[in-house]
């Protein structure tokens, strides 16, 4: 049975990332996904600490409307969650 060796895989990915678009583009998308989760985590934390949407938007370097539309309205962070 073939088992993937994590070290080999990592080396392979690292070695090919700069040249192979297949890996490079997928890596960018993975990065974007990570950023989305980190943003949600930080916004939720800021709201819990009483930050206004305006203040959050300023730190994220986006418009107040953008951050409000994305995170407000009870769709995402419901009370008690």
């Amino acid at each position: 049975m073939r088992e993937a060796q994590p070290d080999q895989v990592t080396e392979l990915a690292a070695a090919t990332s700069s040249r192979d678009p297949e890996v490079g583009l997928a890596a960018v998308a993975a990065l974007r996904g990570l950023v989305d989760v980190l943003e949600a985590l930080q916004v939720e934390n800021a709201r819990a600490k009483g930050w206004t949407w305006k203040a959050i938007a300023e730190r994220l370097a986006v418009s107040k409307q953008a951050v409000h539309q994305k995170y407000a309205g009870g769709r995402l962070f419901r009370a008690g969650k």
Binding site: M1, R2, E3, A4, P6, V9, T10, L12, A13, A14, T16, S17, V23, G24, A26, A27, V28, A29, A30, L31, G33, L34, D36, V37, L38, E39, A40, L41, E44, N45, L76, F77, K81
Partner: protein
């Protein structure tokens, strides 16, 4: 339909998750669920699969073969390895955010960021502690919906592992991508899965000389005989 799963049927999801981990995949699909079903101890579904020459070892080898053929994604196509390729150690990020915010908050953020309200903690936690940051796409919904229909047809509310097997087998009778939205197709493509063609479950089962539809009828007949 996930809330209708019995405890043992939920455990199939855990086992499927483990198989996905073994292959270093970033999604849980019906093919992983099939291996999970075959692996479950004291299970009717596993017994039927085993009797048809589809034990866990055979199926795992079948999965490896599908990876080698390029039908299933290769082992580098997962967030941890991709991020490593741009110098980011996901394990470190994970540790840092969990220390600051706690596992529950990270899980919530992950659920919200990906609009996956149905993401269940016990599926993530059932194996080694896996961070929600490396959460997998769930491509088993159709199979589980069909499992629910199979249970309905048998007049049952709860979904047992045998129904999950029926659902997986019925799902595999259609080509991949059946009934999927455009967005879901994009997810499949990103994961390195083929946009069309026969289901990997069908390929794995037929590779060992078993007919898919016949196996489905066999499982159904066995269930009827038991009730």
């Amino acid at each position: 339909m996930f809330e209708r799963l019995t405890e043992r049927a939920s455990k199939v999801m855990c086992l499927a998750y483990e198989e996905s981990e073994r292959l270093r995949h970033d999604y849980v699909g019906p093919e992983h669920a099939l291996v999970g079903l075959a692996q479950q101890e004291d299970s009717r579904a596993a017994a039927i699969l085993g009797a048809s020459g589809l034990g866990p070892d055979v199926l795992r080898a079948g999965m490896d073969h599908l990876v080698a053929q390029g039908i299933l994604p290769g082992p580098w196509r997962n967030k941890a390895d991709l991020l490593q390729s741009v110098g980011i150690d996901l394990a470190s990020v994970q540790q840092a955010v969990e220390e600051s915010f706690g596992m529950e908050a990270v899980l919530t953020a992950s659920r919200n960021a990906r609009s996956r309200s149905w993401l269940r903690e016990d599926w993530i936690m059932c194996t080694s502690p896996i961070s929600p940051l490396s959460g997998k796409a769930m491509l088993v919904k159709r199979a589980f919906q069909l499992a629910g229909q199979e249970a309905d047809e048998l007049g049952l509310h709860e979904i047992r592992p045998e129904h999950v097997l029926l659902g997986v087998l019925r799902d595999a009778q259609d080509p991949v991508g059946t009934g999927l939205s455009r967005r879901a197709r994009r997810v499949r493509a990103y994961l390195g899965l083929h946009p069309r063609g026969p289901s990997p479950v069908r390929l794995a089962i037929e590779a060992s000389g078993t007919n898919l539809a016949a196996l489905h009828s066999h499982v159904l007949a066995d269930l009827h005989a038991a009730t």
